[in-house]
Subunit: 210 residues, 4 copies
């Protein structure tokens, strides 16, 4: 009897971590595109001129697409964890608040990268943001599995899969970041390809899929 | 017994796709109007001048109303699908993330159209945004129905209704877009009338209603 | 048996109308204050100057407080209705989308009023926004009660209370708006007092309380 | 029998207060970083220049981190209360709307502090914002516990813990604010240390922990 209300309270916490996360992700995803501005009307006098003024927005659009993919991947990753947690506690809530802080930084990192797409500094800061996201997500899993917050009926190899997925993904991101020694465009292309692979490819190896 | 936790997990995913979607739609709907700016106080010295400065905002308001209707129609459409899904999987989540990416683009397409309301380029980009929304929604249904994610007790003609509705609506949008050969205002009027019909008309044919 | 899945679907719709509404209200409430800008650092050289530059923000802050109260009142009003609905249908969803459109207009109406606080035009547009909110809320109740969407065990005098509350409140708002013939400040003071009364006064008459 | 629907209605209210709160917190948290602007591309011609232009953003980033921690602490505090409430009523909803108003002010207080980090006026306004958050949260608990809204099976010393936590925290914030007599940087450092302690330290005294 005394456990019923406790579980209910704890379950509520988990729900509210999920609700706050969905809210932060939703705002961050929508704000990404907010930096895309329509060209000034005064400078446009024909259809041709409008198309010409819109062309420079294309690389920015690629940066936003990349960040939307980043947010999507980490949203799915966080959701996978939350779906396997039986309950939350105060510390786990704070790990996820740290994770969400990294999420709120991404629109800034993205607009920095979109503005300075050829600068290694911008690309490395963007990569640091991704590293921070990965660290917090790994921390969430390590904390939860060590403090008995994971559901008892979770698949036994879940631990290996969740952590393995983070390590593999972060290694690929690190390689992508290192490619900026040659060209930041190469880095971005590499990262976008990895991310599209995560998002689209349905029949890849379990390591990548989870 | 082993199926109960699985369903619970999957149900949780579906809920979080819905929660993220509601968040993205809520932010996008509210941001639409954010581009409406009050005239500068320094340029206004009388009630008459204020009214005069507010008049040019009217066509912009029509563009925002049209986009709000667009978002409303696709929100209802997505909701109809989610209400009939028994569960979600990772791929379905990504189809809906793609759908949400199209949603986040709409405030940009709208401000572009509001700024360049007489330009076919702006109107066609706006239309492409609507096409993308329709494609993702059709993809969501096709994927879900082919992978057994639709509830077993869903009405038998749901498949025909959902896809039929998307095809009819997209055909009408395409006709609306084609009308820009004559005038972009004609296109916008046509699209607004279709959308108001979808939103308001309660006793139309089943094709349009679903 | 066939009614269980149907109710579940309809219940889901009601939840998503509530979720979308909470999202739109949350964004609108937070955006209200977004127009409050810190003074430019370059123009400030002492604590006294900073305080002097902050003073002109006070009337704006009053306008934002008024709008937050407006949103709070209509959020509570919508919630009261949704709590007594057994289910939603497509038309009811659209009435609430119309209601939410009026919500998204409020940050614009507010910034217009904050910028032109002495102009009757700004005050009347603000009032029209409140009228639109009231109309949609009344429409929601009328539609739901006529189409059997209200819970069967709802209090029998609920109909009278909900509609009575809207009529009384809108009458008071209309009086407040009419006061702008004397002074817009008088209008605003009157409206703020009504709203604080709604928000704070716990033991007022049932008409006002519901 | 007549109590079941009532509880269901009341429970719904509590859920919607939580949902609106999660939305407002999510938007406020994400908007904090929105004031961080990438340097203008035109003024940057090398990696070194970009790094030089990014350095001045560091103190701003500290202010944003502090505000994110503030929001996180008050989100956890509000959640602890809501998790122990059996139901909500109209007055409790308004106390939380007041709390949320203070939340929506924080992005403004933060940008003011980030812009005028050496000005006591900015720091004291920021502190007043925190005081307002604390007052509303204390008011929420006092109202709920006096009107029988707290769950009956809540821990008996919960009252002492919740109020004690607010009093201790607010006392520490007041000390932090008072330190601005020496230096606003000292105030900020003190407040950030308190907040990190709340967020991270897992084995502190119960007073601080709850």
């Amino acid at each position: 009897m005394p456990t019923t209300p406790y579980n209910r309270i704890a379950g509520g916490s988990l729900e509210r971590v999920a609700a706050l996360s969905d809210g932060v992700f939703a705002v961050a995803m929508t704000l990404l595109v907010l930096d895309l501005h329509a060209p000034a009307a005064a400078a446009v006098h024909s259809e041709g001129e409008l198309r010409q003024k819109l062309l420079p927005l294309l690389p920015q659009l690629v940066a936003y697409l990349m960040s939307f993919l980043t947010l999507g991947i980490f949203w799915v990753g966080q959701q996978t964890q939350l779906n396997h947690f039986a309950r939350a506690d105060r510390n786990l809530a704070w790990v996820h608040l740290g994770f969400l802080f990294a999420v709120t930084l991404l629109p800034f990192s993205t607009s920095l990268l979109a503005e300075f797409i050829e600068y290694r500094t911008a690309l490395l800061l963007y990569w640091l943001n991704i590293v921070l996201l990965g660290l917090m997500l790994a921390g969430s899993w390590l904390y939860a599995s060590r403090h008995g917050l994971v559901m008892e009926d979770a698949p036994p190899d879940l631990n290996r899969l969740v952590l393995g997925r983070i390590v593999v993904a972060q290694s690929l991101y690190a390689i992508g970041a290192a490619l900026c020694l040659y060209s930041t465009y190469l880095s971005i292309a590499f990262i976008v390809v990895i991310q599209l692979h995560y998002a689209i490819a349905p029949r890849t190896s379990r390591w990548l899929r989870y």
